[in-house]
Amino acid sequence: MQTLLIALLLPALSIPVIYGVGKKSAKTAALFLALISLVSLSLLLTLIPTVLNEGQYVESYYWIPTLGSAFTLFVDGISLSLAIVTLILVAATTVYSINYMEEKSSLPEYYALMSLLTIGLVGVFITSNLLLFYFCWELMLVPTYFIIGGWGYRESFAAAFKFFIFTHAGAIFVLLGIGAIYMLTGTLDIFQAQAILATVDPNVLTWVLASFTIGFAVKMAIVPLHMWLPDAHSEAPAPMSALLSGVIIGAGGYAILRISLGTVYSAMPPIVGNEFLYILSFFGVLSAFYGSFLALAETDIKRIIAYSSISHMGYILFALSLFPFAEGITGGVLHLVNHAASKGLLFLTAGAVMHQTGVRDIKEMGGLASKMPLTAIASAVAAFSIGGIPPFACFISEFHIFVGAVTAAGSDGSYFLPTVLMLIATVFSLAYVLRYFWKVFLESPKLQRDDIKDPHIFINIAMIALAAFVVILGIYPGIFIDLIYAVTSI
């Protein structure tokens, strides 16, 4: 069966249909795209038993033999869980867009770009070929540029410009790394390459590792390479912010795990590269603190969430620095999943608030809980999850991260300080989340208007469905933990 190929190409093949239908009715086009992503999702879900039993699932097709590339589609537990949450998020944001974008123009183009973006978002997770990976990596970039620019707020094209230049510059470093791997090994498959890289001089590999990691860190918005993120996230339309923050920056984390750590670092002899992990944990801690402090200081509703994303990418980078401790990595990947769902939901609710009130400064809000009860509930689920309050999703993954960190600190004293600092950072995370929720929904109302109410039906459906998903992730994370643990425990 060509399950993965179909799952990947369905959005591509549906682009003309979506564009054509969109000319007649944008709503039908959106529902069609949501349906397509759910079909792709169910195709991926059918692979869960195979992956749990055999550890991985691979399909390979003819592509560019002269460049050592086959069209290899591959899933293991990690990539499958990330691809699943991506498709759920795509479906939710598309449904959400129906009402959210209805006043905007050129909607057929919007949905066509969304489905092009879907290929990139899913593709980065489900391939083991570096060239194909890079294709999808850049496919995440180009449609995003046009969506942010064309349908965003205020100076949206300026923000999109910044986003494009930063992440494209990062991507070219990734390309350099890919080229180096091809020159060193003659193959672009990450698993074949890893075996051959073990025979390569570690000094050369240090450069390759640096090139890859810098490139991925830009996408992940690790301080000090984060400058593009607050602008891009806050100017993008809410569905795009949700995907940006949920999936696109998470893909940076995934790529560091799979390529920097999994392929290059693990091929280096153990004595050489421990500093690399310390560097990762340093920047992880730095990003976590920087993001939470700025989120505490900011009053723009979307910028708060944007800075919170920087902070959470810090958590994930810290978790990845625990490589190869299984609990830490499991926690990191699980946090990618949970953060994607929770942060996506938080952006959607923030977008709903902005859509209904027309205001984006939280000092002017307050008391919205009584006027927009559904949005308030969804927002509470998302915010409490981001704040790490049990039993919501992110608590579970943060718990795993800290279990891993304490284990690591037990065997390597250098991890002691970062672990303590990271625990302190969680306090700030909780603080800005509570401040956000208090200022927006609970504090005495400042907007003297009676016409504020819950948004339209499709926005509600999207938010409630995603909130339900976040709650399920928190109460019953078993399936994802099983999937991820099957890979990390090896």
């Binding site: 002269t66 460049l67 060239l131 850049e138 180009v142 494209h168 390309l175 080229g179 091809y182």
Partner: protein
């Protein structure tokens, strides 16, 4: 296979070119639509030429030798002692010329307003220049190469001067002077080479260079020849003529020149450098070329960044492309040379595409970045084509430019000049920045007025043909790369 077989495409183009003038005059007098006639005429001449190339290619691939030397020794042309060279590379290049050349010639016909009269001389020039570029590509000795290449450049000078405006005449004069200096260099070098070796045949000259102990004088001679071709290729610091010439020429001529003449001149440089002066066997020029490569990329991109005139910006992109090509030449690996050859084809399509789109804007009087404000909303299809060209230039996947850049950057990583990859990468970022600025003007800025503009449907046909080829080659580069996989070996011999 004989000389006539190799020269057949050139002969076809020459005959068609000569016939263009009287036929078009006849058509004007009759009731036929001259534009339709020209489209048919160009398609006819290109398909006859394509057929003769196809015959040549089947004959070449039907035998076992990787390089065919076809000399005029047994024919009536014996006194000329002309040698032609047919190998995968030259056949591939000729196919690329035919594809891009036919599309840009079609654009040239459609670009003219129906009310204006079509100029027969212009199309005659386009056709004959295509013929000479093809002959130069097949040539196997330095003199034949020189003659056909000079014919090409002279033809190009007329194309540049075609508008007869002040600036186009100035640009053409500048071009002509540079070309004359270049041919002076080349002729001087050729006379030295002939005096020392008694031959101008590629293989003989190379053999002498490899076996003679004292090659100093020969190397001086080659320094002249390479410098001459470097001027014609517009390597920095010999690049001054190119932006002027391409900006002043009519849009279809810029597209045509950047696609055929520009890529043809890289190809010749590649032949002379790699085939005759193979490093390190004959002389090691890798470091020198690396310096020129870094300089050409950086200067090209920095100047492009500073341009307000979009056409001039794309001319500087052509210069930057030369820099990227030189990166691959220095690597001397098979992936680099394949990348180089792939890059020729892709760069020809990209630059032609960009010039064609700009031609549409120029026709409406829009020349500067400011003028393009908001055109993305008024003419979405035309602007989208430019976006494709820009993304391909900046090396974004799905477009063929990405594969070309990837191969070029990868190739140099293992060579002695690996730092060049870093220079290339920084340049690539710079390039995407200024190209994105054009997209920014097209889509982000508010339109200056509310005039509704209809998109030129006919002109979009050749433009979208190129877009489709670029995307197909971007997703399935194996279509071209499989043909090239053996080519790089034959290039070094």
């Amino acid at each position: 296979m004989n000389v006539i077989g190799v020269l057949l495409p050139t002969i076809v183009f020459t005959v068609c070119s000569i016939l263009t003038v009287p036929l078009l005059r006849l058509v004007r007098k009759s009731k036929l639509d001259p534009q339709r006639f020209m489209v048919a005429w160009i398609l006819l001449s290109f398909s006859v030429a394509a057929f003769s190339v196809f015959r040549l290619a089947t004959e070449y691939f039907g035998q076992s030798q990787s390089v065919l030397q076809i000399s005029s020794a047994d024919t009536i042309l014996a006194p000329l002692s002309t040698v032609f060279l047919v190998d995968t590379v030259s056949v591939y290049m000729v196919i690329a010329y035919l594809v891009v050349g036919s599309i840009s010639c079609l654009y040239g016909v459609l670009h003219v307003n129906p009310k204006e009269s079509l100029s027969e001389r212009y199309y005659a020039l386009l056709l004959i220049v295509t013929g000479t570029v093809i002959a130069a590509t097949f040539s196997g000795d330095l003199l034949t190469l020189f003659i056909f290449w000079e014919a090409t450049t002279v033809g190009s000078c007329f194309l540049v001067a075609y508008k007869k405006s002040r600036e186009s005449l100035e640009a053409a004069l500048k071009y002509l002077i540079m070309v004359i200096i270049a041919s002076g260099f080349i002729i001087y070098g050729l006379s030295l080479v002939y005096g020392l070796t008694g031959s101008l045949n590629f293989w003989v000259v190379k053999q002498v260079l490899l076996t003679t102990g004292n090659t100093h004088l020969l190397l001086v001679a080659f320094a002249f020849i390479v410098a001459g071709y470097a001027i014609e290729t517009a390597i920095v610091p010999f690049h001054m003529w190119l932006p002027d010439a391409y900006t002043a020429a009519p849009a279809s001529a810029s597209a045509f020149l950047s696609a055929l003449v520009d890529q043809g001149s890289y190809y010749i440089l590649l032949r002379v450098l790699l085939f005759i002066l193979t490093p390190p066997a004959v002389v090691d020029w890798r470091f020198t070329i690396a310096i020129f490569s870094a300089l050409t990329m950086t200067v090209g991109n920095l100047f492009a960044l500073a341009q307000q005139n979009v056409k001039r910006m794309v001319s500087y992109v052509c210069i930057a492309d030369i820099g990227y090509n030189l990166i691959a030449i220095t690597s001397l690996t098979s992936i680099g040379l394949n990348g180089n050859l792939f890059f020729f084809f892709v760069a020809a399509m990209e630059t032609a595409l960009a010039f064609m789109v700009i031609g549409i804007f120029n026709k409406m009087g829009l020349e500067n970045l400011e003028d393009l404000s908001g055109m993305g909303r008024k003419m979405p299809l035309t602007s989208l084509a430019f976006v494709c060209a820009a993304l391909s230039f900046s090396g974004v996947p799905l477009f063929a430019g990405f594969i070309a850049k990837y191969m070029v950057f990868t190739s140099v990583l293992q060579s002695s000049v690996a730092w060049l990859a870093l220079v290339g990468v920084c340049n690539s970022v710079l390039q995407s920045a200024y190209l994105l600025r054009v997209i920014h003007y097209l889509f982000a800025k508010a339109p200056k007025n509310d005039v509704v503009i209809e998109e030129p449907k006919k002109l979009l046909v050749p433009i979208y043909l190129l877009v489709i080829i670029i995307i197909i080659l971007g997703i399935f580069p194996a279509l071209a790369l499989d043909l090239l996989s053996t080519a790089s070996i034959s290039l070094i011999l």
